[in-house]
């Protein structure tokens, strides 16, 4: 993992400086920006492989930057959010951000998330997705857990498929409802919680302490490989 270019955007000079040194130490090439405008210019001039983006910027917010960036770049975006900015965080995720960490974050956590989003970037759209003991055949609509076939309802299957195709990525309630049930259901979050609970009973070894299908409180869900570091 050497030399991958990461763009860091934060208006706090000390945070920017600490992040620059940290990421350089982890082997990344670091670009930095202190405003939304600088961030977009930097991303256009030298497209980064990933972006670490503060939600509050002097000339705009991280959500707008994410939306703008998404219109011409698929570089994963990790949002730096703070307690009290939950709504802005969800908005940024809905706008296409891939993940978030909450300030003040631990360096290990940030680096792990960064590795995860970069790893996902290389994944192709496989007809068969394997996550730990889970095997999902998208074309045949067949799911097995440890080799044993599991019977899923159509919605349960679609939910699992969307999560698996975005493996490791935090998907907001809104994004899941939109992709599985259609845009008209975007705000009916309780459908989602019920289906997630059904799905867990079918795929989790212990549904009461899930290892595959994780809840991000107040934000959404993500499907992970229990063997991964995130």
């Amino acid at each position: 993992m050497s030399g991958q270019r990461v763009l860091v955007v934060d208006d706090e000079p000390q945070i920017l400086r600490a992040l620059r040194a940290t990421l350089r130490g982890a082997g990344y090439t670091v670009e930095s920006a202190a405003t939304a405008e600088e961030a977009l210019i930097a991303a256009a001039a030298r497209p980064p492989e990933a972006v670490i983006l503060d939600l509050v910027l002097p000339d705009g917010n991280g959500t707008d930057v994410t939306r703008e960036l998404r219109s011409w770049s698929d570089a994963p975006v990790i949002v730096l959010s703070a307690v009290g900015e939950e709504k802005a965080k969800i908005a940024a995720l809905d706008a296409g951000a891939d993940d978030y960490v909450t300030k003040p974050f631990s360096v290990d956590e940030l680096l792990a998330r960064l590795r995860a989003v970069l790893r996902r970037r290389g994944q192709a759209a496989d007809p068969v997705i394997e996550v730990g003991d889970l095997r999902i055949d998208v074309t045949e609509r067949v799911v097995t857990v440890g080799g044993e076939r599991v019977k899923l309802s159509p919605h349960e299957f679609d939910l699992l498929r969307v999560l698996a195709q975005n493996r490791g990525k935090l998907l907001t309630h809104r994004a899941l409802l939109r992709d599985v049930w259609g845009p008209a259901y975007e705000v009916e979050a309780h459908y989602l919680h019920v289906y997630v609970s059904h799905l867990r009973r079918k795929i989790e070894p212990d549904p009461s302490s899930p290892r595959y299908l994780l809840t991000e409180p107040g934000a959404g869900y993500r499907l992970v490989d229990p063997g991964d570091d995130v």
């Binding site: 208006d11 706090e12 000079p13 000390q14 945070i15 400086r17 600490a18 992040l19 620059r20 040194a21 940290t22 350089r24 130490g25 982890a26 082997g27 509050v56 002097p58 000339d59 703070a82 307690v83 009290g84 300030k103 003040p104 974050f105 631990s106 360096v107 290990d108 940030l110």
Partner: protein, 460 residues
């Protein structure tokens, strides 16, 4: 006119006598031409006005008096109360009965007219009061006016209204409770011995009470709405403060935590430069945290009123120079003017000056000079700190002194506490701080302090 007063009665009797006399005279004049017996009916013209104005009690005696006068003057044998002809007895009886019936009818019509007028006055007043009270006038301002107009309706010279539960009435007033929906809205006092119209009391006061009850309720709701609005605003302020504090505390914490995390992480390969940078971040952000905590403590001490100054005599220009030195900004600040003597807490006033100058430096271009000018009158010394920054909008001149206020979209300029603290310490030392500016021409922040006379022992 009050028909029952002593003067009213006397006037009534006089008018009655006059009326009977006039009609008697007229009959004398007409008698040669008309059979006298048919003229008795003319006395109705005497009885009728009396009945209309004074009522039945006077009209009846006038009827009897008319009959007697007719008998005395015109019916044979004249000048006696005896009658020659029994037919005349019958005629007199008919006259008397006619007079009594007409009197009664007239008096009744008069009573009805008077009652109708009274009710019209009452309802007109109620309608007017309702309009005024519901239009949203403050009830307290209207009570005097309502009282005097109610007095008119009740037929008493004056009346006053008190809201709320009944108190002990003044000795020369009789109270009438104003009650609506089982509770006492207030009391209306009429002068003792005056004789309010009882029917009007029964009719008018309940309606007035209901109206006042509505107005009182409306006033109460308005007050509550105002209080709720004030609470909501202070809640908004608290939320804004909390958000600002949490942001300003979290940013340096994030910097420190990131730097420490990087330095302690064995998997990172940090160059010496990066290591130095991380240590500097920790250093600067710790400073920033400790300054912020200090500022917050100062602010809360000022707000709690526990920042008691310890005044000493100072030459103001010395305090300015020391303030500049604490900022390490000698090269960028030019000081000019007088050296007035002030009796203040040196540390606190230095803090005021340092905050004003630091603010001016922050908003000036990095190569620009900040000018500090000291002037003095006999009463006041004024320090003006003039910057070459973007200046302030008129609407910002006061707001910049609010805690956590940030100018424009500026996010890097600390927590927005410096000017609030400056104003607080200035006030604690008997001075004041204000801003003057026109946009595009830089801002001036001024500190005024009371000057003291140079004590005799210090005069050279």
């Amino acid at each position: 006119m009050n028909a029952w007063s002593r003067r009213g009665v006397l006037l009534g009797v006089a008018c009655s006598l006059g009326a009977v006399a006039v009609v008697t005279g007229v009959i004398f004049l007409v008698k040669p031409y008309v059979p006298v017996l048919s003229l008795g009916v003319l006395y109705v013209f005497a009885v009728l006005p009396i009945a209309v104005v004074w009522g039945l009690w006077l009209a009846l005696p006038v009827s009897v008096a008319s009959m007697l006068a007719f008998n005395w003057f015109f019916l044979p044998p004249v000048h006696t109360f005896t009658l020659a002809n029994s037919e005349n007895w019958f005629a007199l009886a008919v006259y008397l009965a006619t007079a009594v019936v007409v009197s009664e009818l007239a008096a009744r019509a008069r009573r009805r007219a008077a009652a109708a007028e009274q009710r019209e006055r009452e309802s007109a007043l109620l309608a007017e009061l309702a309009t005024e009270l519901l239009r949203g006038r403050e009830l307290g301002d209207e009570l005097g006016e309502i009282g005097s107009r109610t007095a008119g309706v009740l037929g008493v010279p004056e009346a006053s209204i008190e809201l709320g539960p009944a108190h002990r009435p003044p000795p020369d007033a009789s109270p009438h409770l104003l009650e609506a929906a089982d509770r006492t809205v207030g009391t209306i006092y009429t002068p003792a011995g005056s004789d309010p119209n009882v029917a009007a009391l029964h009719r008018f006061l309940p309606a007035l009470s209901a109206l006042l009850a509505v107005a009182v309720e409306r006033d109460r709701l308005e007050r509550e709405a105002l209080e709720a609005e004030a609470l909501r605003r202070s809640d908004l302020v608290k939320t804004a403060l909390l958000r600002a504090v949490s942001h300003d505390l979290r940013s340096p914490l994030t910097g420190i935590r990131t730097a420490v995390g990087a330095l302690r992480n064995p998997t990172l390969h940090l160059s010496d430069d990066d290591r130095t940078e991380l240590l500097e971040t920790i250093d600067l952000d710790s400073d920033r945290l400790s300054r912020l905590v200090g500022d917050l403590l100062d602010l809360s001490r000022l707000e709690a009123g526990s920042a008691a100054p310890e005044p000493e005599l100072w030459s103001l220009d010395d305090l300015v120079r020391e303030a500049v030195d604490t900022l390490g900004a000698r090269g960028r600040v030019e000081i000019a003017g007088e050296a007035p003597l002030v009796n203040v807490d040196g540390t606190q006033v230095q803090r005021v000056l340092a905050n004003l100058i630091e603010n001016a430096l922050k908003f000036s271009p990095s190569d620009a000079t900040v000018h500090v000018r000291i002037t003095a009158t006999r009463k006041e010394a004024i320090v003006r700190v003039v910057d070459q920054g973007p200046g302030l909008e008129e609407t910002e001149l006061e707001r910049v002194f609010e805690p956590f206020y940030r100018r424009g979209s500026d996010m890097r300029s600390g927590a927005g506490l410096g000017l609030a603290i400056a104003r607080g310490f200035a006030a604690a030392n008997g001075g004041r701080v204000w801003a003057e500016s026109r946009p595009g021409q830089g801002a001036t922040f001024a500190l005024a302090l009371p000057v003291v006379e140079v004590p005799a022992e210090l005069r050279a």
